[in-house]
């Protein structure tokens, strides 16, 4: 994103032309802004600062986190909550054990979520947008793919818990296990079996978010000028080549935006895990672990430390968003 320098754009924008007739006393704009800015300060900015402060304190915020160190164990002083948040799930007996336990920890699972959910939602979304573009029932088929976006994660959790249902007594009323049995296989307890369960939950996420990616990518594909595609056809390019060599490069900026948005969304995944497994059976993710520490174990220090780690993970994308915004403003 090689735009004009940030400082230059800021200076330009600050002096942006406002018609002379509309200039007014210095106070008036702030009257319009005050309610919104006050509420955002009270509910976002101030609590964020406070969360960072709490993450250095003990479980009820009364003393430094350093006081919670266990004697004779490694201690990170005031960073003890971070020490806990980063290492408590790991088995540090050997490098191999660290590696294995990482992949069943909340961080490993969140990483799996990010990789697979982003890949599949963007992949399926792009493919479906391309295909639906060629059929007459495009609007209807897109509405159906998009529909899960309108319902709650909780509702989606119930829907899929039923699909994954495992009947221990023999009758399979869950669709997937009934299909397995019909194919002569053993039914699987999808949600409770490590190895299956995180994948099962990610499928729910993909089901919900593909519509989002599909809609944005579809709009981008439609904005590709027809002349360019026609020109490629005239030159004898096949559909497959046109897709990869013409359409994808043109919509690449949109694809990047969709990917970053999906990564941010995935980092914050909470409801699906909370409803379907509660983070048990090795399916925990960062956001659910934070909730567990805060509202089940009532350890404010540890919970806020996990929240701060979550924000730090999101920071690179904030930077990206701002850069994109400034580049957009420069061409407004």
């Amino acid at each position: 994103m090689a735009g004009p320098s940030i400082r230059k754009v800021v200076r330009q924008q600050e002096a942006a032309p406002v018609p002379k007739v509309m200039k007014q006393g210095k106070v008036v704009p702030w009257l319009y802004l005050a309610p919104a800015i006050l509420i955002m300060f009270l509910f976002i900015v101030y609590p964020m600062v406070n969360t960072v402060r709490l993450s250095f304190l003990n479980k009820d915020g009364t003393a430094s986190a350093a006081t919670t160190c266990a004697a004779g164990k490694p201690c990170w002083g005031v960073f003890e909550n971070y020490h806990y948040a980063l290492t408590a799930e790991l088995d540090t007996s050997s490098p191999e054990a660290i590696w294995n336990s990482f992949w069943s920890s909340s961080y490993g699972n969140t990483l799996k979520w990010i990789i697979f959910m982003t890949a599949f939602t963007v992949g399926i979304g792009l493919a479906f947008a391309m295909l639906a573009d060629r059929v007459r029932y495009e609007a209807l088929s897109k509405a159906i793919i998009f529909m899960p976006m309108a319902i709650s994660f909780v509702g989606a959790g119930v829907i899929w818990k039923f699909v994954y249902n495992y009947g221990s007594s023999g009758v399979q009323i869950g669709l997937l296990n009934a299909m397995l049995v019909a194919l002569g296989r053993q039914p699987v307890a999808f949600v409770a079996t490590p190895g299956w369960n995180t994948a099962s939950l990610i499928v729910v996420g993909i089901w919900i978010w593909t519509g989002f990616c599909m809609t944005i990518l579809s709009a981008a594909i439609k904005s590709v000028p027809d002349e360019i595609i026609e020109a490629a056809r005239v030159d004898g390019a096949r559909e497959w080549t046109i897709f990869w060599a013409v359409i994808v490069p043109i919509i690449a900026p949109t694809i990047v935006v969709v990917i970053t948005t999906m990564v941010i969304n995935t980092l914050k995944v909470f409801d699906i895990v909370y409803v379907m497994t509660g983070g048990n059976f090795g399916t925990d993710v960062i956001a659910n672990r934070m909730y567990t520490e805060m509202y089940k174990n009532f350890n404010v220090g540890r919970g806020t430390a996990i929240a701060v780690i979550l924000v730090v993970a999101i920071l690179p994308f904030v930077y990206f968003n701002i850069k994109r915004f400034i580049a957009q403003e420069a061409i407004r």
Partner: protein, 394 residues
């Protein structure tokens, strides 16, 4: 249709197959939930929802073992009329029937060449015959699950049946007041509405004010403050929960609607202002200039010009914020909890701790989806527009 045309259609076949296949996969889970929520509890737990249109196990077993001699309605042999309730009532248990099946009739085995049914199949057949003879075949679809979910019924029968028998649990009164039973989805629906409507209007109103200032008024720091808003859009809720719930505990806002409204307003604002400012900024400048030249004040311009013109943006934002708040679990969980349960809370509670049966869970889930679905399908255009304007929220 000439050959070229046919070839063209055939060439597009894979596209149609792929699109329809994907659409089917996407809709099947929700469809299964809807069908299940309409089936009687007994059926839900003994057969998959996809068997709903196939004949019952009893009818299947009857046609396999009995109908060749007794006829499809059971009355083909006059001396053993299976459609006669008096005869069927002689066999209250399956083993008495099995004994008869093993006996000989006129020197020949009862079943002839046909294999003996299993005890389970005999029981199914008896149940089927009894239903046929009394004419009281069990319905395949019922609305009882929805009624039970709405009033928060947790018994082993149905709310309607219990009320008729006068055996309802002490928290139910069998009148309209049961719709407000705190354990039910009826009350939760009301709570969800009470949370969602103000939490949708408030941020849009404040965002319209601020968006107007950012787009058309001049002040120092205009761009820097706005860039900060862009950054705030992606702050996760989790980052502010603890300090705010501690603050609410001090001022007594925990468990109140006001607390939730303010929280959702705070988190809805960055995106709402962003969208509003971009929309208002794209309006033609002459419009504002002529209004000011005519001597209109800022206040008049705002209410008479900005708000009516911003209606498309307000619609987009309204749908977004409405769905966001309606579907939210985390904020409701932390700030309202069980004192004023909303729909998502009620369902998550049924799933995680109460272990409610599928008949209640599916009906409750569908109840919570009705309003978002209506909003979504009727106003999809605005929803998509708001999303394309750059949605990164939460």
């Amino acid at each position: 249709m000439n050959r070229e045309n046919i070839n063209k259609q055939l060439g597009r076949l894979p596209t149609h197959v792929l699109v329809i296949f994907t659409v089917l996969i996407w809709i099947l889970p929700t469809f299964g939930l809807l069908i299940t929520s309409l089936r009687p509890r007994q059926d839900i737990n003994t057969s998959g929802w996809w068997t709903v249109v196939s004949p019952s196990p009893g009818a299947q077993a009857y046609s396999q073992f009995c109908s060749s001699c007794h006829g499809s309605n059971g009355s083909a042999i006059a001396k053993a009329n299976l459609a006669d309730l008096a005869l069927v009532a002689k066999y209250p248990r399956s083993f008495t029937m099995i004994a008869v099946l093993n006996r000989q009739f006129n020197g020949k085995p009862h079943m002839g060449n046909v294999a003996m049914p299993t005890p389970q199949q005999v029981a199914d057949i008896l149940g089927y015959l009894k239903q046929q003879a009394t004419g009281a075949s069990a319905p395949r679809f019922t609305l009882n699950n929805y009624i039970d979910a709405l009033v928060g019924y947790r018994g082993t029968n149905t709310y309607v049946a219990d009320c008729q028998a006068g055996k309802q649990s002490p928290d139910l009164h069998c009148d309209a007041s049961d719709l407000l039973n705190p354990r039910g989805m009826g009350r939760a629906f009301l709570n969800s509405l009470l949370v969602t409507i103000p939490a949708t209007i408030l941020p849009i109103l404040l965002a319209a004010f601020a968006g107007y200032a950012f787009a058309w008024l001049h002040f120092n720091g205009r761009f820097l403050i706005f860039a900060t808003l862009v950054a705030l859009q992606v702050v996760p809720l989790q980052m502010t929960l603890v300090p705010i719930s501690r603050f609410y505990a001090q001022v007594g806002l925990n468990g109140t609607f006001l607390g939730v409204w303010l929280f959702h307003t705070g988190f809805g604002l960055p995106y709402a202002i962003y969208l509003m400012r971009n929309f208002l900024g794209s309006l033609p400048r002459d419009l504002f200039e002529s209004a000011y030249l005519d001597g209109a004040s800022h206040w008049t311009v705002f209410w008479r010009l900005v708000i009516p013109l911003a209606m498309p943006a307000i619609a987009s934002l309204g749908i977004f914020q409405f769905l966001w708040v309606w579907n939210d679990l985390l904020v409701a969980l932390v700030f309202l909890g069980g004192t004023t349960p909303v729909m998502t809370y009620q369902i998550s509670n049924m799933v995680t701790s109460l272990g409610a049966g599928w008949q209640l869970l599916t009906a409750a889930a569908f109840l919570s989806m009705i309003l978002p679905m209506i909003v979504f399908f009727s106003l999809q255009r605005y929803f998509v527009r708001g999303m394309l304007a750059g949605a990164v929220k939460g």
